[in-house]
Amino acid sequence: MPPSATLNPAPRRPYWQPRELILVGAFAALTKVAGVVIALAGGGMNPLSLALKNAVATVLLVVLLLKAPKFGVLTLYVVSQSIFSLLLLGGSLMLLPGLLPAGILCDLLIRGLGGYQKVWAVLVGVGVFDLLSKAIALGFSFLAFREDPRLFIMPAIFIGLGYLGSLLGLAGGLKFVKELRHAGLIRA
């Protein structure tokens, strides 16, 4: 037996480090709080505050992906947010089976486009994820309003406005990432 085998072997390093998990939780919490604050400051969920809420959520997601550049962070963020909403905020279980593949797909897309170190790859991944999540939300709204499909126009307008906000958030994210990079908080 070689002498090294008698010593305690170094424990296998798990894929997820606490640093990344904590960052995911912190940004997920920030997104929830930001949504509530914007709704309150905007005097209710009017079209502008709705778009702004989505814009802020997208900016935060872009920052998270560049701060914790690892395959699966987007999926983990989606799963954490969904479970939190499911258990504590009355979210629907029906969204999770749609959001989970959307998160995995966008993680794969970012990796395929060159990885999490490239800002534009992250922006494309987040943009596609926002589009997919809004499509899933539309499907869920259709289920909720299926008694009279004509009423479906209301959630469709709101979700469309939300996606416009997300697109705005991609541009805002690019600008904010530059500031964070200048401050030395992001290395990408």
């Binding site: 296998r12 798990p14 894929y15 997820w16 480090q17 606490p18 640093r19 998990l21 904590i22 960052l23 995911v24 939780g25 912190a26 940004f27 997920a28 919490a29 920030l30 929830k32 709080v33 930001a34 604050v37 914007i38 400051a41 905007g42 005097g43 502008l48 505050s49 702004l52 900016v59 935060l60 920052v63 983990l76 963020y77 954490s80 479970i83 939190f84 499911l86 258990l87 504590l88 905020l89 009355g90 979210g91 629907s92 279980l93 029906m94 869920f140 909720a144 309003f145 299926r146 008694e147 009279d148 004509r150 009423l151 126009i153 209301m154 805002g172 904010f176 500031e179 401050a183 908080l185």
Partner: protein, 258 residues
């Protein structure tokens, strides 16, 4: 050596040790209800569930707060009725459907609202954490959820401080300022918050790594997360109520009237 998830001494107040409150059972009920309300269509069945959810919320939420939240929900319902009335001016078919067509989506929201209030406002963070621990989720899901629950109160406190500092500089945070300059207002509010969150996350990560978290050490719970007889009783009652809602949806004579 197991890693302790014990909270700070400030959280060790006697009331939080009282425990119980069937948080896990309430979470499971939220989960089941989120599926059932999408399936149910009858206002009668949904109304039955909404009444039960309100009672459940009453058992944990202060009456005044509950009244405020329900008044807000009723206001939103009236708003949706108003929007529906505007839509009906262009759609004669919608006019014939009547106001009950708006009732079903509203009742779906009301059921989830009551159940959510019973969990979110009826449990302390330590109870929620113990309940989450009892769900035996893997660490990579458990840890972000714990951080979310722990950080929300401190984020709200941070936001208050930022809003105070903005007020000192003469920046007002109100619906008017948000409408007038949405990008500037949100930037002034959220840019400092992101910096604070990054710092808090860094400090938490250092503390977690110093405790050996993520190095294969097993987490130990500060409080027991065993399900009690009250959890079983509440889940049994929930099953009966849900069965009743299915009966109202399909079998009850009154269901045909809707």
């Amino acid at each position: 050596m197991p890693v302790s998830s014990a909270p700070s001494p400030a959280l060790l107040d006697p009331r939080s040790l009282a425990g119980g409150r069937e948080v896990r059972a309430r979470m499971l009920i939220c989960l089941a209800a989120s599926l059932v309300v999408v399936w149910l269509k009858s206002p009668l069945a949904l109304g039955w569930l909404a009444a039960w959810a309100t009672l459940l919320a009453l058992s944990t939420t202060p009456l005044r707060l509950l009244a405020k939240v329900y008044a807000l929900a009723a206001g939103l319902f009236l708003l949706s009725l108003g929007c529906g009335w505007v839509l009906a001016q262009w759609s004669p078919a919608l006019r014939q459907s009547g106001w009950t067509v708006f009732l079903t989506p509203f009742l779906r929201v009301a059921v989830l609202l009551g159940l959510t209030l019973s969990v979110a406002l009826g449990a302390r963070p330590t109870e929620l954490l113990a309940a989450l621990k009892g769900l035996r989720l893997p660490l990579f899901i458990h840890l972000p959820l714990v951080v979310m629950i722990r950080l929300v109160p401190s984020l709200i406190s941070d936001l208050r401080q930022i809003a105070d500092s903005l007020r000192l500089k003469g920046v007002r945070l109100n619906p008017l300022s948000l409408m007038a300059s949405p990008l500037l207002t949100s930037r002034l509010l959220f840019a400092p918050l992101v910096f604070r969150v990054l710092r808090s996350a860094e400090e938490l990560a250092v503390a977690a790594e110093l405790k050996g978290l993520g190095q294969g050490a097993r987490l130990s719970a500060w409080r027991g997360a065993r399900a009690g007889w009250r959890d079983g009783l509440l889940l049994g009652l929930a099953l009966l109520i849900l069965a009743g809602s299915f009966w109202l949806e399909n079998g009850a004579p009154a269901a045909r009237a809707w």
